[in-house]
Subunit: 385 residues, 2 copies
């Protein structure tokens, strides 16, 4: 098992904090925005006296409510097509176990969410990658590169849209290209759409479930990011493919049930939170504009403008970004403060790629982002001397 | 993936309920006792406004409090040796992934908790079994049978104590035998001790962690059963073996974090609940005495007296207990009521074993158990005609 590039430097950060250093966390997509008050209130009004198992597939009331949510995005579902999982993480892992045998191959766009690689390893699945390039703004690599990556053992493509870690939002044309590849090779399409509500380009969002390949698509979703409820561990695996659904459900039965309390909070958070969602959206958009502009003003730093999610992958004027990230935690202080970032190499499968890049999440409030930018600028000046 | 024998008949039960039939659930270890009021109160007083990720290994405050809990059982631990998991289920699965390679073998006593078999399958691990017999009260099979089951590929033994599904409590002598096998073959010992507090024989309980083989033991635990908090999904994986701990932690980092809300409830439930624990204990003990006596009074039914947990495996005067269990749900009604049980064959690995047995959980209140016994007696009379 590889260490999580997002969390592997955590012991160094913990040590710095022990020494009284303030650490700005740009490394992890842990939103600082409050969860919706409706969700928090639901906890206060729980009247049940036994915190019992929920059904393995999750409560029907939550799955029914989610159908209404997806309908707003033009996605037509029945509650029987939704399985509640322990976060999006479990949805991915169980999707892999269900659709892929050990030795099967899955094609991903790199840089990709690092834990996909861990989950693939856990399931004995071989990851093949096509590389999105920072100089192209991390857009979809050409179809020919996918064709080159596909072998007789390829069983699936995974696409995260909007993408973590790059924030790239795939265009309808790119999604059509993916659809054609999926159809012509008869592949599963794992579509991770947990950042669906964070698209800043003003264009309508295209879900993989609207591509008209219902038997191929396994949708991964989660309430973690959209309601700032990462800790409640409520995700979903959604598919029209009955055979996939039924096998995932068997895995779910083995682990008994998803978290009861999280389901109660999630259920209360879905409806009637339009004002909340809008304010989160505006907040992230403003932070993005501010943060990416600030990054690009630091000499030697380059970040494309991400159109979605709340991450960016930026290149730094260093040879080894991991060494720089470690040094920030162990050695560098600006008035007793420093910054934690995730070295981007861990988001690539191809050795050597992304060595001078970092992934940053703009999930801190604006004054903290400003301070983090100041620290980063000073740190680079010192480190690069 | 095999279907869970505990939940596979669930659709039939759901159908019966739709038709207005009352179903007594003896199939699943879902306690009906209330969770501790302290745990429930903790939910009302949550003041945090963002339901954020917890650390991958779980909150330090909870792990510290657990050290105090284990100390009462003579188990000396540091918080760094405890990893909080999403229920005991995740602890087992990650323990398998960590300690066993695909193709490795694990020896279990059958009948065993059916989901062990599912988790082993998920990890590509081969399950070998030694058979505990109903006529021996499900005591530990002789050492020679373990020796016969062990091959060069055997890497671990799993022991659930008190045992699910039989309720058997292993004696100190039996645990010494297990220890000797573990040491002589250099195996891991997975010790599932989630029913530790439900031992009715009045004798002191021996944890695998007190066997003085610290590098071999991987303890699986959970608050689900002891606090009637199955739905909060808080378990633990505990080991003195640093290498195992560190690898499990990598898997935990990939899935980000265990449930936040469950940890808050569990933390509040551990201390100052002596009166609660005593009343649960007394309640289960009374139910056991009542239920097992009632079972053995039904012609052709035999159940040993389980000394722990809240299950029993009983033999019925039928050829195919699964058929009987299905028939109960689809065809048999006594005044509009019926009983759901788990066919025991799914708890055995050896084909053909346990075909006339069922697992029952006595987690219903006494009058419901009485009614379930009446239904079972009448149903057997009708079915066996």
């Amino acid at each position: 098992m590889p260490s999580s590039p997002i969390r592997k430097l955590a012991p160094l950060a913990a040590q710095a904090k022990k020494e009284g250093v303030k650490v700005y966390h740009l490394n992890i997509g842990q939103p600082d925005l409050p969860s919706p008050q409706k969700g928090l209130n639901a906890l206060k009004s729980i009247s049940r006296t036994t915190l019992e198992y929920s059904p393995s597939e999750g409560y029907a009331f939550l799955r029914e409510r989610l159908c209404g949510y997806y309908a707003k995005f033009g996605i037509s579902l029945t509650p029987e097509e939704i399985i509640i999982t322990t976060g999006g993480s479990e949805a991915i892992l169980l999707g892999f176990f269900t659709c892929l045998n050990p030795g099967d191959e899955i094609v991903m766009v790199e840089p990709c969410y690092a834990n996909y690689i861990s989950f693939a390893k856990t399931a004995g699945v071989v990851v093949k990658t096509v590389t999105a390039r920072i100089e192209d703004g991390f857009r979809l690599p050409p179809v020919e590169e996918f064709e080159k990556a596909i072998t007789p053992r390829t069983k699936a493509i995974l696409l995260c849209n909007p993408a973590n870690p790059t924030g790239y939002v795939y265009t309808p044309e790119e999604l059509q290209q993916i659809k054609e590849i999926v159809v012509s090779h008869d592949l599963f399409l794992f579509a991770d759409e947990v950042y669906r509500e964070f698209v800043y380009n003003g264009k309508p969002y295209t879900s993989a479930l609207t591509l008209d390949i219902p038997e191929n698509v396994v949708l991964i979703d989660s309430v973690s990011k959209r309601y700032s409820e990462c800790g409640i561990r409520v995700g979903m695996l959604i598919t029209h493919n009955k055979q996939v659904h039924d096998t995932v459900l068997k895995y779910c039965q083995a682990r008994l049930s998803p978290p009861l309390l999280g389901q109660i909070v999630a259920d209360a958070s879905i409806d009637g939170v339009e004002a909340y969602a809008r304010s989160c959206f505006e907040e992230y958009k403003e932070r993005r504009d501010f943060f990416i502009k600030g990054l690009n003003e630091i000499p030697g730093v380059y970040s494309p403008m991400p159109e979605g999610a709340f991450y960016t992958v930026a290149s730094l004027p260093v040879e080894d970004a991991e060494d720089f990230c470690r040094w920030l935690l162990t050695d560098f202080r600006l008035n007793g403060e420093t910054v934690m970032m995730a070295p981007a190499a861990g988001f690539y499968c191809t050795p050597g790629l992304g060595k001078n890049q970092v992934r940053m999440a703009y999930v801190l409030k604006r004054e903290d982002l400003a301070q983090a930018l100041t620290i980063l600028r000073k740190a680079l000046e010192t480190y690069c001397k």
